[in-house]
């Protein structure tokens, strides 16, 4: 972990990208937007009702050990990407964190030939990367190495899976770290991440997605070495594996890797049957902890995922509202640039976890039941309710009024170019290709770009009206005065805002509408949880 965001280059790339950009100034001479307020549009059809629950329509199942090979002879680097269809949904009840801890122990705890320390020594001079990432339904073991060391690395990389040491002392070390990640990291050191995990827990209450991927404190404490050994055999199996290879690779390498990995158990435990997720709306959770600010996340369980015809237009619209850490989004412009509320405000059409060192989503975090969300970075507590209302206001405006033609063209140009940046590394290209197998979306980004070329503001708005309902939102806050915030939310009282600098009349008028708008939350469904109790069990 990097410690000083403003002093370390790596950390800067990963954490502290510091952006600004402009707001489009109101242009009184501009022509009226082509798809403007409802008055100018044809009478819209009544919105379809939101279903009571989102069923678990299973993802597609690639054949056991299906290979994805993206050879690039001009590169001296070989990328390995082993994606297992297992994640925290496979954690047994009372042993939350088992999948993550098992994967971590395999990746770090040494092999039968090498102790943990020897493993580090072997990888070190090659500067080889060997990482594991566990999400709700997928676990990715990735490796990168210069071709000078390919043979040696390939042996180690496969041994990690085939002959892990599963050492008791290493289990204790990694367990202690995992517990500390919850107690000291999640609960204490990152209000933004805490808000997001709290929203996950709220949306998926009672569902295997609900607990933190890294585990709960009591769950982690309950795990034994035998649990880990058995779990590895149940989930890291051929039938759950897709093998990705890219860069300086050839057929011989691909065959050799498959041959070695065929020593994995052929078949794992039966897949966990995910229940339908109720689409209950209007719930609020407030995590109470000492902090200078209020962090806000809001969202709902989505009725679509990749592969659905509405996915591309909705993804387009959510990027328009707030592409992650880009200044082009509506929320960024309205809440940060015009009003100075915070450091940034973003929106997501599917679950989003920032890929380290980038502003892009991770790959291989596919989910059977997706969520859509809005993220408001910390605001001063006095503006917490206003900022929340503001985000809902601009979401609602986009759904009701659509995206003006000029803005639509801008976003289309932006995403035609920006999506190319999502596939600039071998690991990311592999990631998209492998996700495509599970979602049934081959050539996903190219398909997205083609779909955009055919979209219109009308087609996007129709998809929005079918799939995005601001009244379906649920809310997660992290703040110190939790009771004060709860009372404010319950009362529904206006949340006026004042500024230290002059603002245009138009903005102040809009602020009045925002500050008295009704938040779609239910006063009886507001829950306060002290941070110290969060993800305890």
């Amino acid at each position: 972990m990097k410690t000083r965001a403003l002093m370390s280059l790596t950390a800067l790339l990963g954490l502290a990208g510091c952006a600004t950009t402009p707001k489009p100034p109101p242009d009184e001479n501009a022509p009226p937007p082509a798809v403007p307020a409802q008055a100018a549009a044809p009478e819209p059809a009544p919105r379809p009702a939101r279903p009571e629950a989102v069923p678990a329509t299973p993802l597609r199942q690639p054949k056991p050990m299906e290979q994805v090979v993206l050879a690039r002879p001009d590169s001296p680097i070989v990328s390995f990407r082993l994606v297992f269809h297992t994640g925290s949904v496979d954690d047994p009840k009372g042993k939350e964190g088992l999948t993550a801890l098992t994967a971590q122990l395999m990746a770090e705890g040494g092999t039968q030939k090498l102790t943990a320390s020897q493993l580090l020594e072997a990888l070190y001079p090659m500067a080889a990367e060997l990482d594991v990432f566990v999400d709700k339904e997928f676990t990715t073991l990735s490796g990168r190495v210069h071709k000078d060391f390919l043979t040696r690395f390939q042996d180690i990389f496969t041994d990690v899976l085939l002959a892990p040491r599963l050492d008791a002392a290493e289990l204790e070390r990694l367990r202690a770290n995992a517990i500390s990640d919850v107690e000291n990291g999640l609960r204490s050191a990152n209000d933004e991440a805490l808000g997001k995990v709290a929203l996950d827990a709220l949306l998926y209450q009672g569902h295997p997605y609900a607990h933190f991927t890294g585990g709960t404190v009591q769950g982690l404490k309950a795990i034994t070495l035998d649990d880990v050994k058995a779990h590895a055999q149940r989930v890291f199996t051929q039938d759950r594996l897709v093998i990705g290879l890219a860069g300086a690779v050839d057929d011989a390498l691909a065959q050799a890797l498959s041959a070695r990995l065929s020593a994995l158990p052929a078949k794992g435990a039966p897949r966990v049957e995910l229940p339908a997720v109720p689409t209950t709306a209007g719930r609020t959770v407030i995590i109470q902890k000492p902090t200078l600010s209020t962090a806000v996340s809001m969202g709902f369980v989505s009725t679509i995922r990749r592969g659905d015809p509405d996915f591309f237009p909705v993804a387009f619209a959510m990027s328009n509202l707030g592409e992650h850490r880009q200044s082009i989004g509506v929320l960024f412009t309205e809440l940060r640039e015009k009003r100075g509320l915070n450091y940034g405000d973003y929106a997501y059409a599917e679950h989003f976890i920032e890929s380290p060192g980038t502003t892009y989503n991770r790959t291989n975090i596919a989910r059977t039941q997706q969520d859509m969300s809005l993220w408001i970075r910390p605001v001063v507590p006095i503006n917490g309710v206003f900022a929340t209302r503001g985000a809902v206001f601009f979401l609602d405006q986009m759904v009701k009024e659509g995206i003006p033609q000029e803005r639509f063209e801008l976003m289309r140009g932006f995403l035609q170019g920006y999506t190319r940046l999502w596939e600039q590394t071998d690991q990311r290209r592999l990631g998209y290709a492998i996700d495509g197998l599970f979602y049934g979306t081959p050539d996903f980004l190219e398909q997205y770009r083609q779909a955009m070329s055919k979209m219109t503001p009308q087609s996007v708005q129709e998809a929005l009206r079918r799939r995005v309902q601001p009244e379906a939102l649920n809310f997660a806050f992290v703040t110190e005065d939790a009771e004060g915030l709860a009372q404010m939310l319950r009362s529904g009282a206006p949340s006026p805002i004042t500024y230290a600098s002059p603002k245009p009349e138009e903005l102040l008028t809009q602020d009045q509408r925002i500050s008295s708008s009704k938040l779609p939350l239910r006063p009886e469904a507001i829950q306060v949880i002290p941070a110290q109790q969060f993800m305890e069990k």
Partner: protein
């Protein structure tokens, strides 16, 4: 006349380029640098990279929190980075987004103690527009007072975002203990009270721009797949008329440290106890050879194959992690060792173990094989890290900004394998001494309710 002046300079720009011989690709850095210096002092580096229609456009200004010499104005270099997105007369606020947004550029920036680095990463097709709009903002930035005041609040939001974890506070306390006069005393974010007062500093912000945003204080890197002659023609056309000169503002020198120093933080929330051991060491700006030594020293003393890692992390499991926050600085800064402890009770043992490794090295006991492995790691690590034009641009820009030399990064990579065991030991003996030591400890204050206000 005003219209003629740029034309005249443009002609001069074409007539008098100072082109250095290309810096060729090497095993350590497999790309070639083509460097020109315009008559106004702007250094322009082009790096061909097989990125299939993608470029990275990186501008580094040699200004950071180091340059914040006036009391009450800390954090300004970083704040100013935000203001650079606020437009000009030609391209008022919002237009940058419409022009660059249309191509899909990832458009961002960051500030450190020494540099401010801007990057745009996206399609080659947008380069002509990008060059024009970038040159325009560096020459002609203009923003209103209300816009300035609003942006100050976004900076405050950034501080709040960073304040939840202990790292910012630790950096603040360590810097305050280590520096009594030099501007490294404050962090890049700046003092909280100065950030809160930023909205009142509009006039100063104009001074800051005039003072530091000058061609002779700036380097431009263009990495990717593009037509070099056309790009240079556009660069000369648009940047040629930029004619300010960097101000001479001296940064106070830090007097020698006489005796060890300590600092302590009681953290009001649950967290792991932390220990930082720091020493004042030479900067990369003046002592590139010492920078190479310090880079290797990080892993020698606290890397994943170091004896301290094996003892403290793996065998005794007294700490979650050890490492270093060292990064290259222009002026003498700090070499640090850091530990995230599992329990307050082990603080002394952990500190002693780390210091014993330092003593062993200072006494001349160097593990040459491990040094060789670290040098191999550094070489392959650099190759692995240069995956996109953006990676290359940021690395080049960072080192160029700190060292003042456009090929600072290659020089650094080339000097790493030349460091000898004796040099590692000599450096340690000379700089990592008991009377130059600064110890920072952090202890969480935990109670049943999980912290206090």
């Amino acid at each position: 006349m005003r219209r003629l002046l740029p034309l005249l300079l443009l002609l001069l720009g074409i007539a008098l380029p100072a082109a250095a011989a290309p810096t060729p690709a090497s095993d350590a850095f497999p790309y070639t640098l083509h460097t020109d210096t315009l008559p106004n002092g702007l250094t322009v580096v082009r790096v061909p990279y097989p990125s299939r229609g993608i470029i990275a456009y990186v501008t580094v200004v040699r200004v950071g929190s180091r340059n914040e010499v006036e009391p009450g104005r800390t954090g300004f270099a970083h704040f100013f980075e935000h203001m650079m997105f606020k437009g000009t007369k030609t391209h008022p606020e919002g237009e940058r987004e419409r022009i660059l947004g249309n191509f899909g550029y990832d458009d961002n920036a960051f500030t450190t103690d020494d540099i401010t680095l801007y990057y745009s990463y996206g399609p080659t097709a947008g380069l002509p527009q990008l060059i024009e709009i970038e040159a325009d903002r560096f020459r002609n930035l203009e923003y209103s007072q209300p816009s300035f005041q609003t942006e100050a609040l976004a900076v405050l939001g950034e501080y709040h975002k960073n304040a939840a974890a202990p790292f910012l506070k630790m950096e603040e306390e360590l810097n305050a203990a280590a520096f009594t006069r030099h501007t490294y005393q404050h962090t890049t974010m700046g003092f909280y009270k100065d950030i809160q007062a930023m909205p009142q500093a509009y006039d100063y912000s104009r001074t800051f721009f005039e003072r530091w945003y000058t061609p002779d204080n700036t380097l431009l890197f263009i990495i990717g797949d593009f037509d070099d002659a056309k790009v240079m023609e556009l660069v000369r056309q648009h940047y040629g008329p930029w004619d300010r000169k960097a101000a001479h503002v001296s940064v106070p020198a830090e007097p020698p440290q006489k005796g060890p120093r300590t600092a302590h933080i009681d953290w009001p929330q649950p967290t792991q106890p932390r220990q930082v051991i720091a020493w004042r060491t030479p900067g990369a700006g003046t002592s590139p050879a010492d920078a190479a030594i310090q880079t290797l020293l990080v892993d020698y003393l606290a890397g994943p194959t170091s004896p301290a890692y094996k003892t403290l992390v793996l065998d005794k499991q007294l700490v979650e992690s050890i490492g270093s926050d060292y990064s290259e600085h222009r002026d003498p800064h700090l070499f640090t060792l850091t530990a995230t402890l599992k329990d307050e009770r082990h603080r002394d043992t952990v500190r002693k173990t780390l210091l014993q490794e330092v003593s062993r090295l200072a006494a001349g006991r160097v593990d040459a094989a491990r040094l060789k492995a670290i040098q191999d790691h550094a070489r392959y690590g650099a190759l692995m890290a240069l995956e996109t034009p953006r990676d290359v641009g940021i690395q080049l820009g960072w080192y160029a900004g700190v060292t003042g030399s456009p090929d600072g990064f290659q020089r650094h990579l080339q000097s790493l394998p030349k460091v000898t065991p004796a040099q590692l030991s000599d450096f340690t003996k000379r700089y990592l001494t008991a009377n130059k030591l600064i110890l920072l400890s952090l202890t969480p204050k935990t109670d049943a309710q999980g912290g206090t206000k």
